[in-house]
C-alpha cells in the first residue's frame, strides 16, 4: 500500500470533483474513529496517548469504537501471535469501508524481539497496513505522528479508490473478501 499518488492519477477526475474530494477527505480525516486492537505494552502507551497529556481527542479521535462496524482505523498495538492472527483478520474483515490500519510498535510491525515460533512476524502478513509506527513501545508522540500520517492518507484518498481494481487486487492478495454492498444482502 501507500501508492496513493499513483492511484490518484489513475482515478483522475475533473478539477471540481477533486476539490470536492479534498473537502470531503479533510472532513473524513478529522473524524477517524479508532478501534484499538491493543494487546500488550503498546496498549498502555496508547492509553497514555488517549490521556490528558497527549489528548488524541484533538484529532476528533476520542470516540473509540470497539465494534469493528463503526471503526475507521484499526490500531494494532502489540504482539500478534499466530494464534491471534485469524482473530485480527476477522476484525479487519468486519470493518466497513473505508478502513485504514495503523501498525503500532515493533511487535505488530515485524515481531520485534519476539522472533519466535509463536509470534507472527509482522501483521502485514495477514492484513494490509497503511502506516507503520516503529518503537517498542512507541512514544505517544510517535503514535500521534502515525495518526497524522493516516490523516494525510485519508485527506488525499479519492473517494472511489475503494472500488478501484488495484484495491480489490490488494485485498485479494491477502485473501480478504471485499464486502460489496450487493453481496451483503445474502
Amino acid at each position: 500500500m501507500g501508492k496513493i499518488e499513483d492511484l490518484q492519477v489513475i482515478n483522475g477526475e475533473g478539477y471540481q470533483l477533486t476539490r470536492l474530494e479534498k473537502v470531503l477527505g479533510t472532513a473524513r480525516a478529522n473524524s477517524v474513529w479508532p478501534l484499538p486492537f491493543a494487546t500488550s505494552c503498546c496498549g498502555i502507551e496508547y492509553m497514555a496517548t488517549m490521556g490528558s497529556n497527549y489528548d488524541l481527542a484533538r484529532f476528533g479521535m476520542e470516540r473509540m469504537s470497539f465494534s469493528p462496524r463503526q471503526a475507521d482505523l484499526l490500531i494494532v498495538a502489540g504482539t500478534i501471535s499466530k494464534k491471534l492472527g485469524p482473530v485480527l483478520k476477522q476484525v479487519y474483515e468486519q470493518m466497513a469501508e473505508p478502513k485504514w490500519v495503523l501498525s503500532v510498535g515493533a511487535c505488530a510491525c515485524s515481531g520485534g524481539i519476539f522472533d519466535t515460533y509463536s509470534v507472527l512476524q509482522g501483521i502485514d502478513r495477514i492484513i494490509p497496513v497503511d502506516v507503520y509506527v516503529p518503537g517498542c513501545p512507541p512514544r505517544p508522540e510517535q503514535i500521534i505522528d502515525g495518526i497524522i500520517r493516516i490523516h494525510e492518507l485519508v485527506k488525499n484518498e479519492p473517494l472511489r479508490r475503494r472500488y478501484s481494481d488495484e484495491y480489490k487486487h490488494l485485498l485479494k492478495d491477502y485473501n480478504i473478501e471485499t464486502n460489496d454492498p450487493e453481496q451483503s444482502d445474502k
Partner: protein, 180 residues
C-alpha cells in the same frame, strides 16, 4: 489463617454510613471535584506544534557519530549486532583504502550499516556495547512511514551529517563519564 506479618491492616471494612447510602452526598462531592477541574489549566501538549523536551538520555533514533575531524567512528567490530536482542543490526566491514583517512577513523569501517527500525526495540544495548563511541541513541524519534522497506536505515540516514552534528554530550554513556 493467622497473620504472617505483624503489619497487617484491614482497609476495606468500613461500613456505609447513612449519608453514603443516600447516594447524593458522594455524587455531589464527585461533581464538585470535576467541576473544579473545569477551571484548571489543561496539561495537554499539542504535539505536532508543541514538543515536549525529552530527557537527555532518551533512547530514540540512532546516530553513527563522527569524530571531531568528521571521520566515522565505527570500525565494524560487530559488537552492537551481537548485543542486539532483536537482531536488527546488520553490517558489512570494509578495509579503509588509501586516501580515505579523512572519512574513516580506523582501518576498518562499515561499508554498509543497517538498522531495521521496525525490529529495533530501542533498548540501548548497542550504545553500551559500542567500544568506539560510534553508535548512540538520541532524543530524536523515528518517523513513521507508509512503506515497510523504508525502515531499513542505512548509513545515509544513520551517519550524522558533517555540517549538522547531533549533540549527544549529555548522554552519560559518552566518554565524558569519567569517574573515580
Amino acid at each position: 489463617m493467622q497473620s504472617l506479618s505483624n503489619k497487617r491492616k484491614v482497609v476495606s471494612d468500613k461500613p456505609m454510613t447513612f449519608m453514603e447510602k443516600l447516594y447524593l452526598p458522594a455524587i455531589i462531592g464527585g461533581m464538585w471535584i470535576t467541576f473544579k477541574h473545569l477551571f484548571r489549566k489543561n496539561n495537554t501538549i499539542k504535539y505536532p506544534e508543541e514538543q515536549r523536551v525529552f530527557a537527555p538520555v532518551y533512547r530514540g533514533m540512532h546516530v553513527l557519530k563522527r569524530d571531531e575531524e568528521g571521520r566515522e567512528n565505527c570500525t565494524a567490530c560487530g559488537l552492537c549486532a551481537v548485543a542486539c536482542p532483536a537482531e536488527a543490526i546488520t553490517m558489512v566491514a570494509g578495509e579503509r583504502k588509501k586516501g580515505e583517512e579523512h572519512l574513516y577513523r580506523e582501518e576498518k569501517y562499515a561499508e554498509t550499516y543497517e538498522i531495521n527500525m521496525l525490529r529495533c526495540i530501542f533498548c540501548g544495548l548497542c550504545e553500551e556495547a559500542c567500544p568506539k563511541e560510534a553508535v548512540f541513541l538520541t532524543d530524536r524519534i523515528v518517523p513513521t512511514e507508509f512503506e515497510r522497506g523504508t525502515f531499513i536505515y542505512g548509513k545515509d540516514k544513520l551517519v550524522e551529517p558533517v555540517d549538522s552534528r547531533i549533540d549527544i554530550t549529555k548522554r552519560q554513556h559518552t566518554g565524558k563519564r569519567t569517574e573515580k
